[in-house]
């Protein structure tokens, strides 16, 4: 006999909660029990639906029909419908809600085009009423906590429901209860597996490839890596890895956490913590969850009296300018030097090459291969000598002010770690989005892991901030992922095919250096993303407000599920304020403060959006920013490198979108970063 695993879709869980318990739940459970034995059709009780839906099956459960599908070893419970609702005796499939044009949850049929003109211009219509009134009984059946009842009971229109100040998972459950979803749409929902045999608790279920990636080389002899494009589920795989690692660790009486989970941004750390809590239950106590830099600060707290004072970005820029002026006092020589290398590039060279690679003198720097730095900008010996002197000048300014750079702090932390071999290391270190971490940080994280086998990272080639020359071996010689310890994920679960392809076409148009990649499979389809030119800020704000309102109405998502991503905090704050004056609740969130549960539209910088996802996304606020200007002030080499880097960041922003994406650019922009939107993939007004 095969061994079957029961999994279910969120829609099924909602419909299961809604059926009257006494009469039906036993019958349904007994049917699930028979499916768990064998879901294959007997053509009497368990029957396939008529073509073309013969991969779907149904079994009668009292007054209900249970719809399901299966493929070894998984059974997917899809829906639980009243028999009179779903008439299959007459094969009237229209009644079966299998018709894909029924738009319930932002799912548009493949190739179905939305009218972008309407989305961007239709002015505030009255929101549609709810198909059914929400009752206390419904809320109770759906296990909605009483504190949310008053909010939900007062919602009478779609807009009111979608923007109720209650957690999104509850709104989603009520949406599933009010609008019965077509079964073909339910197929695209994520799968949940029953937790510990309890039908009330479900865990997200990995697909086979993700499952293999999470279990890959648990007994290997070195570190393991998972690669994949945005939306392929790398982060969730990393979380499951922790679960599998914990299952294998021998029981210990030590109270300290034994596994470290770390990533680059605070929002991603917070999102991961809540998921891990669900996945691990009480065992979460064995996992330390924090950003990589906070691990470094921990080392200082433990072993050093000198707590670091880290120079802020603004201070560093100021000191760099001072240092350049000091070393190159002649205006003309300075300008000539700066025409080749900008201040930003200089500072990066100091931080990411000289400091991060522990270069101690000029001779060493002259001989250094700058492979991690992108290879376009070539530096002569004369240039290098000048940079070295500027670096020394910058150093002395920092010392005089008792400040340090993050790179210096990391190097000191590394030294602390070497000096204290007694530091209680972690049995395993799991790093999400490793491509965003500085090599020096990765080195420290590698060292706080007891054995190389416990080191597990997820990384994305396209999102990388490093050039192609980056190599894991530069981080540590024993950090290699060869010998079957790398998995590449190839199914995109986040974005629609249309959004993923448009973003990818934008990335390759810029001839950005991208790794050879596998063909991606896509689960979702939707409208093409749009690109629009804006004549002035007011037009941009107006368009954004109209877009957010109409997209929300079209796709049935609340405003809290929308994000506007901007290049800078300044433009972000301006957009949030402008949206509020247009009647759209919006808030700018600095990276540290992001609260995904807040009811407003999230306005974020492109940088802090890494690792997150939103159903509706707009990229805006480029006017006046670095991204909108020509890059003429840079040398040709540095131009190419900077453009590549900026295009990658925009690509990151675009791939945050799950269902709908709009990019607004200033009409007057001359920047090469804001070009290359292929009309084959983008709904465009650019002539």
């Amino acid at each position: 006999m095969s061994s079957w695993i029961i999994t279910s879709k969120p829609s099924f869980q909602t419909e299961w909660l809604l059926i009257p318990k006494q009469e039906n739940s036993q019958i349904v459970l007994s049917k699930i029990a028979i499916l768990a034995q064998d879901p294959r059709p007997d053509n009497v009780f368990k029957k396939p639906l008529p073509d073309p839906y013969s991969m779907l099956y149904c079994i009668r459960a009292g007054t209900y029909r249970l719809f399901y599908t299966f493929e070894l070893p998984y059974i997917r419970l899809l829906a639980l419908r009243l028999r009179e609702q779903e008439n299959i005796d007459n094969a009237t499939l229209d009644d079966l809600s299998l018709d894909e044009s029924t738009d319930v949850d932002g799912e548009l049929a493949p190739g179905q085009e939305i009218n972008w003109h309407t989305i961007l211009t239709k002015q505030g219509q009255l929101s549609l009423p709810l198909p059914k009134t929400i009752s206390v009984a419904t809320l109770d059946s759906l296990h909605v906590p009483p504190q949310y009842h008053s909010h939900l009971l007062s919602a009478h229109t779609q807009k009111e429901l979608l923007n109720c100040h209650v957690p999104q998972n509850i709104i989603q459950r009520i949406k599933d209860a009010l609008w019965m979803k077509p079964i073909t749409e339910i197929l695209d929902e994520p799968n949940y597996v029953v937790k510990d045999g309890n039908l009330a608790e479900f865990l997200l279920c990995l697909d086979t490839q993700q499952e293999q990636a999470a279990r890959r080389a648990l007994d290997g002899h070195g570190p393991t890596q998972v690669k994949g494009q945005p939306g392929t589920g790398k982060s969730i795989v990393a979380l499951y890895r922790i679960r599998y690692l914990l299952e294998r660790l021998p029981i210990s009486k030590q109270p300290e956490p034994r596994i470290l989970f770390t990533t680059y941004t605070n929002p991603l750390v917070n999102a991961s913590r809540s998921l891990l809590k669900q996945l691990l239950g009480v065992n979460i106590k064995d996992v330390k969850i924090c950003t990589a830099d906070s691990i470094i600060l921990d080392l200082f707290r433990l072993f050093s009296k000198e707590y670091p004072r880290i120079a802020k970005d603004g201070t560093l820029s100021k000191f760099t300018k001072n240092a350049v002026e000091c070393i190159l006092p002649s205006e003309s020589i300075r300008q000539e030097f700066l025409s080749k290398l900008s201040y930003d590039y200089l500072l990066e060279e100091v931080l990411q090459v000289i400091q991060a690679r522990k270069v101690t003198n000029l001779e060493e720097y002259l001989k250094l291969k700058r492979s991690g730095r992108g290879r376009r900008v070539r530096l002569s010996s004369q240039d290098r000598a000048t940079i070295w002197h500027i670096y020394e000048q910058l150093q002395s300014q920092l010392q005089a002010n008792h400040q340090e750079t993050w790179q210096q702090v990391r190097l000191r932390a590394e030294a602390l770690l070497t000096a204290h071999p007694d530091f209680s290391r972690f049995d395993a270190v799991v790093i999400d989005e490793a491509q965003d971490l500085d090599p020096s940080v990765l080195r420290i994280l590698f060292k706080v892991c007891r054995t190389p086998n416990g080191f597990y990272i997820t990384a994305d080639a396209n999102q990388t901030i490093y050039g192609r020359g980056f190599s894991w071996q530069n981080v540590d010689t024993s950090l290699n992922f060869q010998g079957g310890r790398t998995t590449t994920l190839t199914t995109n679960y986040r974005s629609t095919r249309e959004i993923a392809e448009a973003a990818h076409s934008y990335l390759i148009m810029g001839a950005a250096a991208i790794d050879a990649e596998e063909t991606l499979a896509h689960v979702r389809h939707g409208p093409q993303p749009a690109i629009r030119m804006m004549l002035h800020n007011e037009e941009e704000y107006q368009s954004l407000a109209t877009f957010l309102f109409n997209a929300m109405e079209t796709l049935h998502f609340g405003l809290s599920m929308c994000a506007v991503l901007c290049p800078t905090s300044k433009s972000g704050k301006a957009i949030a304020a402008a949206l509020r004056t247009h009647g759209i609740p919006a808030r700018f969130f600095p990276s540290q403060e992001l609260n995904l549960d807040s009811p407003e539209v999230k306005v974020l910088t492109l940088h802090s959006s890494k690792g997150l996802e939103f159903p509706i996304v707009a990229l805006a606020g480029f006017r006046g920013s670095r991204y909108a200007q020509a890059y003429d002030n840079l040398s040709e080499d540095e131009q190419a490198e900077t453009i590549t880097k900026h295009r990658r960041l925009l690509f990151v922003g675009m791939t945050r979108a799950m269902r709908m994406l709009l990019v607004l650019i200033p009409a007057e922009a001359t920047s090469p970063v804001l070009t290359g939107f292929d009309a084959a993939y983008w709904n465009s007004d650019i002539r």
């Binding site: 006999m1 095969s2 019958i27 459970l29 007994s30 049917k31 029990a33 028979i34 034995q37 064998d38 294959r40 059709p41 007997d42 009497v44 009780f45 368990k46 029957k47 991969m55 009668r60 009292g62 029909r65 599908t69 493929e71 070894l72 998984y74 997917r76 028999r83 299959i88 005796d89 197929l187 695209d188 799968n191 697909d207 086979t208 490839q209 499952e211 293999q212 190839t490 199914t491 679960y493 499979a521 689960v523």
Partner: protein
């Protein structure tokens, strides 16, 4: 709690529950034997409760609950190796459906039918293969592999070669490893029983043969045929959609009778079982 042993009809039953079902069979004049023959199912010893020769099936009596994994596994093995239907009756004989649940494990069968579609309806027959052949074929099916005979050669075909979106593309590739390991495990058996497999699956000229894997279903009830009066285990009409399922398929009458789950004879048998009293020794 120890079950009360009960005597009835010359048998010593291990529990009252089993004895009440014996009364039910006796009242309906259904021939039965109790714990008559045990089976060694690949190392597991199994002694089914009842054998009903007229219904050609084994019956296992269980309390009113879902059968456990182990009970299901035993029933499944017995059906596969004996080539007969195995039923688990979970509940008491004096209750009427749906208060008792009847699960059925139907064995793997090979259907033989004429290639001409016009003849197909009436002429198809089912062949019960050698138990070892059934085990090999079922294990292949459990891994989504179908074995058939093409031009005198064994051909293996993989099911689900076109995965559906809910599972993502990779699952199909992912299961290849599992299928490969199943095949390598079964290879010696395939070799050993090659001739039996060929014999079982090679059709006569103008005919085709198709393997129907083991099935497990629940939702049966005792019923009386309205035409021939035979007592059978039939589909309970409250458990299915459509009318065709509760015609008495094996009815000898020119016009097949309907299966009645609440005929006067059946109701009387339930009542007799409920009121039965047993001597303690």
């Amino acid at each position: 709690m120890k079950a009360l042993e009960s005597f009835f009809d010359g048998y010593r039953f291990r529990s009252r529950l089993e004895a009440r079902w014996a009364v039910f069979f006796h009242t309906l004049q259904i021939p039965y034997s109790y714990e008559s023959e045990g089976y060694d199912l690949d190392g597991t010893w199994y002694l089914p409760d009842f054998w009903l020769p007229e219904q050609n099936c084994y019956i296992e009596i269980k309390p009113p609950r879902q059968p456990t994994k182990e009970e299901c596994a035993k029933a499944s093995k017995l059906a596969l190796q004996s080539g007969r239907d195995v039923y688990i009756l979970a509940g008491d004989a004096w209750q009427q459906p749906p208060d008792y649940q009847i699960w059925r494990w139907a064995p793997l069968k090979i259907r033989s039918f004429p290639q001409a579609k016009s003849l197909e309806q009436n002429a198809s027959t089912f062949i019960t293969p050698h138990p070892k052949v059934a085990v090999v074929l079922q294990q292949l099916l459990d891994n989504d592999i179908i074995l058939s005979i093409k031009y005198g050669h064994v051909s293996l075909q993989m099911l689900h070669s076109c995965p559906i979106p809910a599972f993502g593309t990779p699952s199909d590739i992912g299961s290849l490893e599992q299928r490969a390991s199943t095949l390598s495990k079964l290879a010696p058996l395939l070799k050993q029983y090659r001739e039996d497999l060929l014999l079982a699956l090679t059709p006569e000229a103008g005919w085709r043969r198709e393997v129907y894997g083991q099935t497990v279903s629940s939702g049966f009830a005792w019923a009386e045929c309205s035409a021939c009066g035979k007592i059978v285990l039939s589909v309970n009409r409250d458990e299915v959609d459509g009318d065709e399922a509760y015609l008495h398929q094996e009815c000898q009458h020119p016009q097949a009778g309907k299966c009645n789950t609440a005929s006067p004879r059946l109701l009387k048998a339930y009542e007799t079982a409920r009121q039965a009293r047993y001597s303690p020794n």
